[in-house]
């Protein structure tokens, strides 16, 4: 400490001489490094741009390649016909598309209500049980989907002695559940405490506050999170390998059913070019489906957010 600062009275009665000298020193020192800092900053921005390019390249390449290989397979028949026998050109994947819709629809019907209700529970309770559930959900997020598949096989396929869409739905629901719980919970947590309290202070029942204020405020986030969970599940293959079988056209949830990812797996590994063509077409359809879901998620969220204002 210099004598100068020691001379500054406790009340700080003015800057005087020391301040002017300090200002010079500070300005000089920071000016000297400003150029270097600017260059460093520019370098850092450059690195970020490179990183973005690196992370986008595989994605763009994947989409472009799948599109270029798969788009030729698309035709009206591709969506409406059932597959031809192995190696025979023509046919379609209508069985797999319908199967996927049934399986994923049922999975969402199971996972969404349970997931949102669990999220509400986590929101309302802070305590050991809530902590344990939250931790379990986090662990469940990391469980390999193939482990979920073999579990569903043991629970729903073995006892019934045959594959079924329902068993696949169950496996996918288990897979989606933790994602739905955590994304819904964080969407609900984003609703400010003050809005809760404003509702309660009006004498409104707690449940009604949750429904009309918390759930309404979090709706955009909940919808987005759920749709993305569905988009994730629709491409899952491992759980279905154990559970749904791969069947021609079927509408009953209790019977073996085809699914788009399974078509990609079985036809993609076939030695016949016609089958591989079908696999690429199916992969392209799956990509389109995920893309559409993501776009819908964004649109819905945007609309709900605008309404909220």
């Amino acid at each position: 400490m210099t004598t100068e600062t020691a001379a500054v009275p406790a009340g700080g009665a003015g800057m005087g001489h020391g301040a002017a000298r300090r200002r010079e020193l500070i300005r000089a020192q920071s000016a000297r490094s400003l150029r270097r800092r600017h260059l460093t900053g520019r370098g850092a921005v450059g690195l970020c741009v490179v990183a973005v390019a690196i992370s986008l390249t595989p994605l763009v390449a994947l989409v472009a390649y799948t599109t270029s290989r798969g788009i030729h397979a698309l035709s009206v028949d591709f969506f409406t016909k059932i597959p031809t026998p192995q190696g025979i050109p023509g046919g379609g994947i209508s069985n797999a598309i319908v199967g996927s819709l049934i399986i994923v629809g049922l999975a969402a019907a199971m996972a969404v209500p349970v997931g949102i209700a669990s999220a509400l529970f986590l929101l309302e309770r802070r305590g050991r049980i809530a902590g344990a559930i939250r931790f379990t959900a986090d662990v469940l997020t990391g469980v390999p989907s193939i482990a979920i598949g073999i579990f569903a096989y043991a629970v729903l396929v073995e006892p019934l002695a045959h594959f079924s869409a329902l068993a696949g739905s169950f496996a996918l629901a288990v897979l989606m559940l933790p994602v739905i719980i955590r994304s819904s919970e964080s969407a609900m947590r984003a609703v400010p405490r003050t809005e809760w309290e404003a509702g309660l202070a009006l004498g409104v029942r707690r449940g009604r506050v949750v429904r009309s204020i918390v759930l309404r405020g979090a709706l955009a986030g909940i919808v987005t999170g759920n749709l993305l969970a569905v988009a994730r599940a629709v491409g899952e293959t491992a759980p279905l390998l154990f559970t749904t079988g791969n069947q021609l056209f079927n509408l009953s949830p209790l019977q073996p059913t085809g699914a788009v990812p399974l078509t990609i797996f079985s036809d993609g590994t076939s030695p016949f070019p016609a089958d591989q063509q079908v696999a690429w077409g199916a992969a392209f359809v799956l990509l389109l489906f995920v893309l559409v879901l993501s776009v819908i998620a964004r649109l819905v969220a945007g609309r709900l957010n605008r309404q909220a204002r």
Partner: protein
Amino acid sequence: MSVTPETDAPETAAVSLADVSVSFGSHRVVRDVTLDLARHRVTALVGPSGCGKTTILRAINRLHDDTGGKVTGRVTVGDLDVYARDTQPELVRSRVGMVFQRPNPFPTMSIFDNVVAGLRLNGVRNKALLLEAAEAALHHAALWDLVKDRLHTPAVRLSGGQQQRLCIARALAIEPEVLLMDEPCSSLDPIATAKIEELITRLSTDVTIGLVTHNMFQATRVSHYTAFFQLGDDRATGELIEYGLTEDLFDKPNDPRTKAYVSGQVG
């Protein structure tokens, strides 16, 4: 306390705004403001909410660069043309400090680290200089005696008023010529507010202060000059209605809109 500037000494402008407008997208928030902040004086910016006071204040240190606001017109700080093509925003901000509505000390830093953040992050390494600047700044913010024995405890343990004084110290540590204060007392109780006001009066002997406030009494207590803003006839864009010595503006306003506002008839 009311402060009267010596009217016989002509005052130079530390900050000049000429025809300054700020737009966000297609919405012009405030337009055609021509205003000086007199050197080593406190200029209060008053007016109803949403009339562009804060927007104008933030145009002075180029904070709109990062929020997508477009500033037109001319702003000068001393001899520095703030929006000139070759002016670096960092340079402007090293001469113009800012204090925000809510105390915003960096929560991961100690009291000392907060005060010297503007120096360290700008490349000042000299330990003695950092210590000296921190002590001087804390003195100026009337905080030194309170925190000198716990400089290395987290800043967030201080009370709200103390945190705001810490933020003032942090802004002062880089020795700015101008200090912008955006409703610095709006989240503080009357005692903490009184301390900040006392501080503003004292600081104005060395620093030029631009103060946005909703509190008319605060403007009359601490400012030498007052600028009154209000929405224009289109009800969408803020305008500078009247500007002058604080006493004059409150006692004998020229514009009927100013009169209505300061006498509490509207707003």
